[in-house]
């Protein structure tokens, strides 16, 4: 019997290893796996490469991980945001590397990683700083940059409901990066509001099929 429901956040995160690449879902406070991020802080893995739209705010979640020196590198589209001092301090102290990538390119690179597409040509970023060191090539008269897939060892995603097969649905703009990150990681761990019976989710409305999800934890459950 397939049962991807894990009893606790800590159990689900136990095998995150030093140097792993971790994908963090969420945008603007919506769709963030806050309990998994807090769990990762307890868990202690370091030297991580983080992939996320931004670098976290204040002193919880991704910002807390960064402040604790657990990330060696960030790949993101918003390294400079209000409340993002944790990252800025680490960055200016030379303790964290940064790869800035346009938001749409970030989403597409993750989807490519999940879909087995190794690289693609996009017009975004041509003529900008983002083009530095990247191949420039035109197709049908459209100049494009070559961008490569991103894959994660782990993805920490937030969803609304899950079943024991790992099927996920989201809530409103909490969806954001979560579905493409779920595709792109070897181990996707989903933090969800509710766990429902198998069959309770209409096959037509499942956004992330369980094939992309390895572990599910319920919010508000045991650490």
């Amino acid at each position: 019997m397939i049962n991807k429901i894990w009893p606790s956040v800590d159990a689900a995160l136990a095998d995150v290893f030093d140097g792993a690449t971790v994908l963090f879902g969420g945008f603007g406070g919506a769709g963030e796996a806050t309990e998994l991020m807090a769990g990762l802080l307890r868990q202690g893995a370091s030297g991580l490469t983080g992939v996320s739209n931004s670098i976290g705010k204040g002193d919880s979640g991704l910002a807390a991980l960064i402040r604790s020196g657990r990330l060696a590198k960030m790949i993101c589209s918003f390294p400079l945001i209000k409340g993002g001092e944790a990252f800025q301090e680490q960055y200016r102290a030379g303790r964290i590397a940064l790869e800035t990538t346009p938001q749409g390119t970030l989403a597409e690179r993750l989807r490519a990683g999940g879909a087995g597409i190794e690289a693609f040509y996009t017009p975004t970023g041509v003529g900008t700083e983002m083009a530095e060191g990247k191949e420039l090539r035109s197709f049908n008269g459209v100049p494009c940059l070559l961008e490569q897939a991103i894959r994660g060892d782990f993805a920490l995603v937030r969803a609304h409901k899950a079943d024991r097969w790992g099927n996920l649905v989201y809530r409103k703009t909490g969806r954001n990066f979560n579905p493409v990150m779920a595709m792109a990681a070897r181990v996707t761990i989903a933090e969800v509001d509710d766990i429902v019976e198998l069959g309770a989710l209409d096959p037509e409305v499942i956004v992330t099929p369980g094939i992309f999800v390895q572990r599910v934890v319920r919010r508000g459950g045991a650490h």
Binding site: G29, A30, F78, G104, E108
Partner: protein, 219 residues
Amino acid sequence: MAALTKEQIARRIARDLQDGQYVNLGFGIPTEISNHLPPDREIVIHVENGALGLGPTPAAGQEDPELVNAGEQFVTLLPGASLFHHADSFAMTRGHHVDVAVLGAMQVSERGDLANWKIRGNDLGGIGGAMDIALGAKSLYVAMLHTTPKGECKIVRTLSYPVTALGCVKRIYSDLAVIDVTAAGLLLRELAPGQSIEAVQRLTEPELRVAADLRVIDI
């Protein structure tokens, strides 16, 4: 000789949005546009974080932390709205499905190059979705104050700020004027009330051509 307020700029832009258009609104003045949409038109607002069909700002107490726009402000959905993930959302912009995007700007060049993401000389900058949106919208409008707080020209011959996208801006709406970017250069189409061609030209680095039907912005 008063320049337009930011709200008046937003109102002016709103009038140019057509029934049935799909429109992406950036941070700052552009966000304000959604409060001034013509009531007799259906304009579908796209946010890059994954929704089409935004409605008005929610009433106090009705905010949903999982329903925000790209500026992390609470929003609502209209009947007909749809939700989707980031890769699909940027397929809409990069794939030229969004009709109009309105973005803020630090600088716009006479060729329509846009700079709006990073201060010159800064090591960090938040690019977000600006590059994808600037390049992908069928028509890109810029909403901005005509000069910096120090009075420097923001409409320039060549960008000195880091580029967002090249040759993408179609029209500039400032507090002083409405200016089209054309193959023949910048075309002054409208002036804020009380402004003169000469006054606007003094605050605009490239030479302005003047439209035969130059008008005063109706506010």
